[in-house]
Amino acid sequence: MVTLKRLKIKGFRAYMEDKEFIFDNPVILLFGDNGTGKSSTLNAIEWCLFGNDCIGAKSAIRERIDWEIPNRNLGSSADIYVELELEDENTDAYKILRRWISKTKDELRITLLDGQSLEGQNAGEKLAQLLKSSFRDFLTMVYQHQEVIRAILTQEPRERNDAIDRLLGLSDYRNILTGIETGKLQTKQKKMCGDFDSFTREIDVALRTQEGNLKDKRGKASKKGLKENQLSEKGALEIASKVKGELQKLGLESGLSVVDLQVPEQWTDLYEFQEIADGEIKRFRSEMPDVKKQEDLFKRRGEITALKQQYQQTEKDYNRVKSKFDVKEKESDKLRREVRELENKIKEKEKQLSEASAKGAVITKALGYLQLEGIDKNVCPVCETEKPDLLDHVEREWTEKYEKLVGTVEDELDAFKNRQNEINTWFEEYNRIKRSFEDGYRRVVEVRKEIGKALGREITTEDDPDVILNNALDGVNKGLEVLEEAVKSKQERLDGISSLMGKMQLIADILSSEEKKRIVEQIQESSEYLRMEELRDEMAILVDDVDKIKIAISEASYEAAEQKVAAAGEAIDNYFRRIANHPAITKIEFSVSVDSRTARNSYEFKDQNGKYLTPTLNQGGLNALALSIFLGMTSLKGENQPFGFVMLDDPSQSSGSGYKEKLVEVLDEVLDKRMVILSSTDKELQELVLSKITKAKTKYTFSDWIPERGPEVKKE
C-alpha cells in the first residue's frame, strides 16, 4: 500500500511557480474558492502517477477531453513537472518525477531508496509494479470523481460491475479474465478443427476421384481388349517391347532408319518412350518411299488437271472471241467501201456549201447597203441601173431560194457525217475484237507450249491437247492405284503400332492413378497427418485448460467478492443511512452473484424490501449512495487495496448541514484506514472537519489566483 509524503508542482494547469505540499498528517485539507487551484493539486497527483492515461478520451471523463497540462501563461520553453514522494508498506521511499514535453510526450523518472534512477520504459514498469492499478482503478478506489462514482449506480451492468470489482480490489481477476479472452484461443481452435476437417474431406474427395478415374480407365482398357493381368508394369513394358519390334521391322522393309528406341525398365519412363515412338511413327508416315511416290503422283495429277482446265478455258475464250471477229470481218469490206463513198459525198456537199456561203455573203452585204438610210432602194449598187422594188426583190429571193437551198445542203451534209461517225464507231469495236482475237490466239499457243513442257513433248497444231492430257492423267491415276494398296497396308501397320501405344499409355495412366491413390491413402497414415492430429488435440487441451483456469478465476473472484461484500456491505449500509438519512430506506442489501454469460461478478443494491435502490433515489440520495459505496469500499483493508489514501473533491456540494455533519463523522472512521485529502470550497464543511475530526490535520488555504503567479497557497 502506497502513501503520499510530498508533492511538488510547477507549471501544471493552475500553477505557475513551483509549490510544495507535505502530507504529514492523516487529513490534508485543501480549502479555497472555486478556481484557486485546489482541483489542479489533486489532478497533479493523478497525472504524476498515470501520465496521459488521465487526460483526453483515454480517461473516459468527459470534462477531460480537451484538458491542457501546461499553464497557459507560461512561455513555450517553460519547465513543467510534478514530483511526488511515495512510501510503500515497507516504508521504502520513491520519488516520482514526471516532466511535460508535449501533448503526447512526457518524461518519467523514478528515484529509488538506494539512489538509483530509472527512466523511460524502465521507470514506467517500476511504477506499474508499485501501483498495481490502472487509472480506472485509481478513480474508483482513491479519487472520488463524481462522474465515475455516479457510473457505479447509473451505468450499464457491465460497467457498474467492473467499477465495483475495482472498488473491492478484485480488478485483477477481471483484468486477467479479459486478458485471457483477448487471446481468442477458441477462435484459433475452431479454425484449426475446421482446417483439419476440411483437409480430411479433401483427402476423401481425392481418394474418390482417383477411384473414379481408375474405374473409368479400367473400363476403357477392357474395351480395348486388355486383360486384367496386363494392367501392370510388366504388361506395359511388354507392349513397349512389341512397339519397338514392329517399328524396327517396318523400318527395315521400307528402307527407313529407326532411332535407337530403348524399352524402359520402369513404367514411369514410358511417357518418354512414347514421345519418341510417336515421333518415329509420324516420321514413317511422311517419309515412307511409297508414300513419297504417292505424294509425287498426287502432285503430278494436280498439275495435269490444272493444265487441262487452263487449256479448256483458253480454247473456250478463244473460240468465243473468234466467232465474234468472223462476223465483224464479213461486214468490214462493205463498210470500207461505204466510207470511201461518204468521203466523196461530203467533199461535194462542202463545196456546194462553200459556194453558197460565198454567194450568201455578197447578198448579205448588198442587203445591208440597200437597207441603209438615204439610199435609193430601187437602184442596183453594182451597175447603178434602176430596178423598181429592188430591195423587196432581193429580200424575197434571199428568203425563198437561197436560205432554203443552204438548209438542204447542210442537212444532207450532216446526214453524211453522222453516218461516217457510225461507221467509225463500228470500226473501233471491230479493232478491239480483233485485238482480243489475236491475244486469244497467242494464249492458246502459250498453253500448248506449257502442256508440251509438262508432258515432255511438242504439241503441234495438229495435236489435240485435251486428249493428250487425258491420257497422261490416266497414266498417273493407274500409278496411284497401284501405290494405294502398298501405302494403305503400311499405314495400317503404323495404325496398329499406334493402337499398341494407346494401350501402353492407358496402362501407364492406370499405374499412375494407382500410385496417386496410394499416396492419398498413405497421407492419413503419415507422420505429418498424425502430428496434425496431435497438435489439434494439444490445442483442445490448451483451450480446456484455459477454460478451467477461467472457471477457477471466476470462482476465486466470486468467493473474494462475497467476503468483501459481506464486510463492506455493512459499512455501506451504515454510511448511507447516516449520510442520506432517507426515511424510506432502512437498510441497503449489497449482494454479489456470478453472471453465467460472462463468468464475472454481478453486483446489486436493493432496499430492505428487496427492491432495486437506484430508481427511487433523487440526486442527493444518489450522491449519498455513491459516497457511501466509495467510503465503504475504501474502508476495506487488504493487499488488494494498493493506495493508502483517498481524495475527495468537494464532497458536500449542494448538501445540507445534516449531510455534512454525517459525512464528517463517516470520514473520521475512514481515517482509521486511509489518509484523506479533502478539497472543498465549503466553509461549513471546513469548520466541521477542523472541529469534529479526531485525527491531526494539515490545512492548505488557496487564495488570490493570478495569471502571472498562479495560486497563493498557505499552509496551516
Binding site: 481477476y173 482446417d195 483437409f199 490448451l542 478451467k548 483456469i549 477457477a552 478465476i553 473474494a560 488488494n640
Partner: protein, 66 residues
C-alpha cells in the same frame, strides 16, 4: 492469500492435468504481473502460435502432396 493462490486453489484436474493447468496459470499470472492484460494476450498467443504454426506448416506440406 493473494489472487494467485486463490485461483490456484480452485483449479481442478487429475495428476498431470492439474500440474499442467497450474503451470499455465502461473505463466498467465506472471505475464499479468509484468505487463497487464496485453502481456496475458501475448503469452497465450505465443503458446497457441507454437501449435498453430506447426499445424499450418504440416497442412501445407500435406496439401502439396495431395
Amino acid at each position: 492469500m493473494n489472487h494467485r493462490e486463490n485461483v490456484q486453489g480452485k483449479i481442478i484436474g487429475d495428476g498431470n492435468e492439474l500440474d499442467r493447468r497450474k503451470d499455465l496459470w502461473i505463466k498467465i499470472d506472471n505475464a499479468y504481473e509484468h505487463g497487464g492484460e496485453d502481456a496475458i494476450k501475448s503469452v497465450l498467443i505465443k503458446i497457441s502460435d507454437s501449435i498453430t504454426e506447426e499445424f499450418d506448416k504440416l497442412l501445407k506440406q500435406l496439401r502439396e502432396k495431395l
